[in-house]
Symmetry: C2
Subunit: 313 residues, 2 copies
Amino acid sequence: MTITQLYYVLAVAENQNFTKAAEKCFVTQPTLSMQIQKLEDELDVQIFDRSKKPIELTDVGKKIVIQARNIVNESYRIQDIVDQQKGFIGGEFKLGIIPTVMPTLLPMFLKAFIKKHPKVKLKIEELTTEEIITRINDGHLDAAIAATPLEVDTIKERALFYEPFVCYIPQGHRLHGKNNIDIAHLDIDDMLLLEDGHCFREGVINLCKAFKDHTDDEFQLESGSIETLIKLSNEGLGMTLLPYLHTLDMRENEKKNLHYFKEPSPAREVSIIFHKSELKMQIIESLQDVIAGIIRGAIAFQDVKIISPIHKK
Amino acid sequence: MTITQLYYVLAVAENQNFTKAAEKCFVTQPTLSMQIQKLEDELDVQIFDRSKKPIELTDVGKKIVIQARNIVNESYRIQDIVDQQKGFIGGEFKLGIIPTVMPTLLPMFLKAFIKKHPKVKLKIEELTTEEIITRINDGHLDAAIAATPLEVDTIKERALFYEPFVCYIPQGHRLHGKNNIDIAHLDIDDMLLLEDGHCFREGVINLCKAFKDHTDDEFQLESGSIETLIKLSNEGLGMTLLPYLHTLDMRENEKKNLHYFKEPSPAREVSIIFHKSELKMQIIESLQDVIAGIIRGAIAFQDVKIISPIHKK
DNA sequence: ATATTTTTATAGCCTAAATTGATTAACATG
DNA sequence: CATGTTAATCAATTTAGGCTATAAAAATAT
């Protein structure tokens, strides 16, 4: 058994296809076929059920894949140990960011981070929380920035900052003009929400539900971006909630529609998250430092109440 | 990097010698030299400091060895998964047993276990607790039977039974004839003890210390076996404590000298212990079942007070 | 039902890597 | 200084991994 063989198994299991997996591994398909057969012979067990199309894992195969993932990850850590010893911070680093954090936070820290670590090849992807969790678990992401707590036991979290929710209430709305909004005043029915899949949406729903038990899940107006949300709100279609950082670079005439919650303001916890195996931990910690340093000053709310970003049934 | 290379590194680290390590791996010394050099080249770091005699690990080397141990162990688990799937219970199984448990417990379960699992090649070694911990950690033991709790975070414990301490008090001793001995009556100064390194000794000391603060560590009479302890006691050199199972097959005239503690009787917890990686878990669980089944009935004390087997400073 | 496409397995070949035996170099020890 | 021990080096051999080409099997289209 070799680490390479295990790596091939992972590739085939992921792609459910020898040919595609071979491309990902930069070898030819016969190479994969043979190495996997060799491993199956050695263990004297079928890992893949080749009678199914697309190809499937057998029951043992599934367990072997989990273990293979472990071993391959742990093998990466040896290079990690060496890098750490040498103080070398570099290589590819794949970071996921949720859509509602991406446009505001990324410009704040990206330059500083690249300057600090020119040898790190940052690859940033905008992904939903769900996609992030999958990719951290299968090793396709080294870390991510997401709203927490997530309660996923394979993933560790380190809080970066607490970002308050701010009300955007257009003129003519019943709450317009009021400041120090109380959570109890919110009504999910005149609240514009992001599309399904955004954890900020879940946060808002959780917040509203905290005071009113609302089982009807059919929200009428939904949008894919916060910018659109603001425009829809301006059209008089309802109020909406914005993450605090989004309110910093708004036009002056729109800023007039911002209304803050009375403290403790509801807020989301934004964290850097990563697999519990703690691979590339130096880079993660450095990124954490950079963001924490930049955010300090930008957000200065004292007392916040953290809203869960996950949908509870 | 290959699993084989990591295995070679472990062998050299353990033996501090390429030639001996090569023998253990069933390859020639140049093979080891070359493979380890190759790994060092690939990682671009020295794992061994070859200027020292005997050869030593570098600082990174030490960390790499820990990680290599992980990876090699995890790779064994793949075969474990396959075996488990097939319901195959077999292969080599290395079990350590502490000296004060060995002679009484081993005869009780050995036959039954061998009969239940004829394909398992049992290798049993009598070892002190300290040796057992080292060998479980470095993978030279699959499991062991020892007094617990040990508080070693790499090792898991499963209690098998609670074995009460029984007083052996020769005629003429101040406590002779009394039954329902109270712990408070014990005096470490007229207590015969096992040699250093036996955890039963530590247990007895902890027990005596519980009531009298005794800092003088110079015990006069010490012995390497419980049999000798009894003989010394018969010579009028003091009383001693015996593990309950030892009292079952004593001669009748010696049984007269046994005095039980009043409940809750002090007792040692005897457990099957194994590395947290839980390799060969089917065998371990089966062994646990066999021993638990046999001991049931042999020990029927209701209320016991567990004495720690470790020396606390 | 047949042709076409897609996908995996097989075979033969080549190259690179692992291993060995023999030898050398370095070092410690009597 | 000689001797024994131990790791490194070198050339030779074996083994294993990978490639190209091709066959076989299965799915899809005609």
